[in-house]
């Protein structure tokens, strides 16, 4: 059998008819005609990873008697057998049924998505990429630097989506990631590091041209080297309660771990409990829970040059931009179609009206689950970073995570960062090493009292968010301004 999309599409649609005829209420299929990846790592100038990957196959879901069955295969001549397996899985699942899954009203859609790209990274010769990365590595060399790591990752996917409602989506996904890091032991023998990952102000395109834009990547080599030198000469952050100013390079993870994951509806409903964990949010809290101060405005956003922007999710819903937390009050969550009815039933009222377009799968062989998209904090009215520092009597500015550990319901957290700048009486006074801070989610967001303006807002990507069983690694984004939190526990006592 010819396995080109022109043949796959009718074969899949025939199976939809067969599945509906077998009593299924819904069926869908994702055909990955191409899932290409490239992974390059320079470690102390040595090319330690130089890999090109290619995946191709199909994943299908059927919904029968309110239960999901999923199956995947790379054998594109066995699509019928793959649907049979999904059907058998759904039938087995239906033997122990809870709240029946329901896709709600049919939403047939036809659409296409192409991310904004000037230069497709897969069209750039490997030698050119290696020269670019090697030049960065060379610029990171310094007598104070013990180890250097420079990486680039590229992904290109051509995904066709069809479902039994008549939806047909044809989309490309293209993601570009880059990172550089310098490390050295300090005088106590403890390893210190400073790094930067490819980021942006949310504008622009997301091809190879993004990586080579010095504003967002290569131009930071000298800065991180210089800051590493400062860290190596610094003392550890003394423990104590003080104000914490998070730069976007740290703020993105704070949002990711204590807002993003906590607002995934599958976690809220208990479907991730045994692996990733639950949420401190319950369905009935949507619309009323005070999640943070009035300064907190958080949205699931659409930012064109972000790995969290994909046009249509993996059940064919067009990605949309909506508020999650409005002036500190939780107003919506990250969801897919099939869980809305259950959330509303459990809340005893309508708390979610439409899909949060967050059904995402990491590969053809994984089933879509609720994932983050671009979980952003809206810029505030409190000026620039310098304005916020000027307003701070006793605090620290923190940047870039080193470690993170979060309670299973996302109710508390502990973060370590690469660098802290002490702020005393409105001025940055010195650098501290080994900064950590910890807190309880609602109390912490309740202490948010300054949010920087648009000039402080930066888009950071997360290339490796893990969730789900079977396990899935997902790419997404966070647009974050500078944020200040009051009276936070910082530093370690020993």
């Amino acid at each position: 059998m010819n396995t080109k999309v022109d043949n796959i599409a009718p074969a899949v649609k025939n199976q939809f008819e067969r599945m509906i005829g077998s009593g299924c209420s819904f069926a869908d299929a994702r055909f990955y005609d191409e899932d290409s990846s490239q992974h390059i790592v320079l470690y102390d100038g040595n090319l330690e990873s130089n890999n090109r990957g290619f995946e191709r196959g199909i994943g299908v879901r059927v919904l029968k008697q309110g239960a999901w069955g999923f199956a995947a295969t790379a054998n594109l001549t066995a699509i019928s057998a793959c649907f049979d397996r999904a059907l058998a899985n759904a039938q087995a699942a239906a033997k122990l049924l809870g709240f029946p899954k329901d896709m709600g009203p049919a939403q047939p859609t036809k659409g296409q998505y192409r991310p904004p790209v000037e230069k497709d990274p897969f069209e750039i010769p490997l030698s050119e990429k290696l020269k670019f990365l090697k030049d960065i590595d060379t610029s990171l060399r310094d007598k104070t630097v013990a180890q250097r790591i420079v990486t680039a990752n590229f992904q290109r996917r051509r995904i066709y989506y069809w479902n039994s409602e008549g939806t047909e989506i044809d989309r490309w996904v293209l993601n570009t990631f880059g990172s550089m890091m310098v490390m050295s032991p300090d005088k106590d023998g403890r390893n210190q590091r400073r790094s930067v990952e490819l980021y942006s102000d949310g504008t622009g395109t997301r091809g190879y041209e993004w990586l080579t834009n010095p504003d967002w990547f290569a131009g930071h080599a000298e800065r991180i080297k210089s800051e590493l030198s400062e860290i190596l000469a610094a003392e550890s952050l003394p423990p104590g309660k003080r104000d914490v100013i998070l730069l976007p390079g740290q703020g993105f993870l704070q949002v990711h771990e204590t807002i993003g994951h906590a607002l995934e509806l599958d976690r809220i409903l208990g479907y991730e409990l045994s692996f990733a964990g639950g949420s401190h949010v319950r369905p009935e809290m949507i619309g009323t829970l005070r999640y943070g101060s009035e300064k907190l405005n958080c949205r699931a956003g659409v930012v064109e040059n972000s790995a969290g922007t994909f046009g249509y999710d993996d059940e064919g819903s067009q990605q949309r931009d909506f508020m999650l937390i409005d002036k500190g009050v939780l107003v919506n969550v990250l969801s897919c179609r099939a869980d809305l009815a259950e959330a509303n039933a459990k809340a005893g009222k309508t708390v979610v009206k439409e899909s949060g377009t967050a059904a995402r799968a990491s590969a053809f062989y994984r089933s879509p689950i609720d994932r983050m998209t671009n979980i952003n904090i809206d810029p505030g009215q409190d000026g620039t970073l310098e304005d916020i520092i000027k307003d701070t009597k006793d605090g620290v500015v923190l940047d870039v995570p080193v470690s993170w550990s979060i309670g299973s319901n996302r109710e508390h957290f502990h973060f370590g960062c690469e660098i802290a700048w002490e702020v005393k009486d409105g001025r940055r006074t010195k650098v501290y090493k080994n900064p950590t801070y910890q807190g309880h989610t609602l109390e912490f967001w309740g202490s948010l009292d300054k949010v920087g303006n648009r000039s402080t807002w930066r888009l950071h990507q997360v290339p490796n968010c893990g969730k789900g069983e079977p396990n899935q690694i997902m790419e997404l984004g966070h647009g974050i301004p500078v944020m200040r939190f009051r009276n936070v526990q910082t530093g370690e006592k020993e």
Binding site: K95, S403, S408, G466, P470, E492
Partner: protein, 459 residues
Amino acid sequence: MFEDRLRDLLISGRNQARKKGINAEFSFHREKSSLIRLGNSAVALSTHEELTRLDISVQQGRKVGSSSLTADITSSEQLQATLDQAAENCKAALGKDYEPIFGKVEETVDDSAGFDPELENFSPEAKTDLYAEVVKALKPKGKYDFSGSWSSGSTEMYYITTANDNEAYRRLTDSKFLMVLKEQNRKWELSVERTANKTGTFMADDVIAEFSSLLPIYEKNSGYKTKIGRQRVLFGPQAIAELLMLGIWGGFFGRFWEEKRAYTAKNKFGDKLFDASITITDDPTNPNVFGMPFDFSGKRRRPFVLVEKGLFKGLLYDSMAAAKYKKQPTGHDLSNTDFVLAPGNGPAGLEAGKKLAKNALYIPHLHYTHLPDPTKGMFTGSSRFNAMRLENGEFIAPLFSTRITDTSPSVFNNIVAVSSISVSQNESSTYSRRMPEAMSVPEYMLCDNVRITDVADSF
């Protein structure tokens, strides 16, 4: 034995590479995976994947390039295209400043001892039935929701290189069962785990009995909020496996040690690192682990000692770190190791461990751990399932979520007792591919002076 069709295909690829004078390594991975996810006391998802993956690495002098294919690998053309891509990457590569080690299968291995055809085809219905039985027995007894996952399937791994004609093949089955009981209002969570490489190793009655033994403490007592500071902790199997992994990550990787980034960096072999009750090996012959017989540089894996009676004995070198630092590779070009923390002299059984501990925190699971400072072996993580307060050797209350931030050297030096009984702890993952992995750990480990750094008001 590996299927003839695929074996012939891969050997023909090796022959093609040899004809062209290309040094190539071929790693093949095939999985048949099934998984049931339980959520809200019902099956939330039932999946099945049949996947084949081919990884080819090409080395010419100091240059290395690789290529991976996840598709229906049936033709020599696909294999050739993947080999060509790897060769092209190698050609464009930057040469390393050291001589890389090229893979070579030390001796032919054909190991299907851990394969059970019944477990490979273990039906989703059978899993659903067992879950249903447990839910039916326990749900009426309280406001409980059940969640969990049950993964089972088979994995085949085959590795050859152009360096010689030897072949390394492994086929095994594995199963990982987890069930979580959550109280709807107070949100405490209990879990039961099982691991197996054959079917029929446990029944619903076992799971019901284990939950039932834990429930009274949680039902009858409110949450215990412990104090911040150093305390005695009785760790259970999952937490011990987590502590073991964190300890190995921070201290025993050759690259990190060479780069002075390991907490053992100032130590030499023979130095005392831990209490004399601590012996750590990577031992594929241990019956509690899945036992990977070779690695993906072709090295035959045999028991490898890291710590013996508290003394520093070994470091893990994959072929890349070994080449760079001019050491011998130790069989660690793989992600699924077989770590073993040897049993101690402590009395057998958790009950005996409780009596010995007297007043302590019982923390059998550590959730979401991380290493804020590997150079000191510092880790952090919080308690989760089945955690309780012990007084006079008896469980008296469930613990609120409790954070530990301590160092591996401190924990492994403050040993009071290590159980003389070992258990298997399943650490398998399915990120990108099925990778069965288990550790053998003592059923309990009692430690003093464990640093508690935060306590929540909830579970």
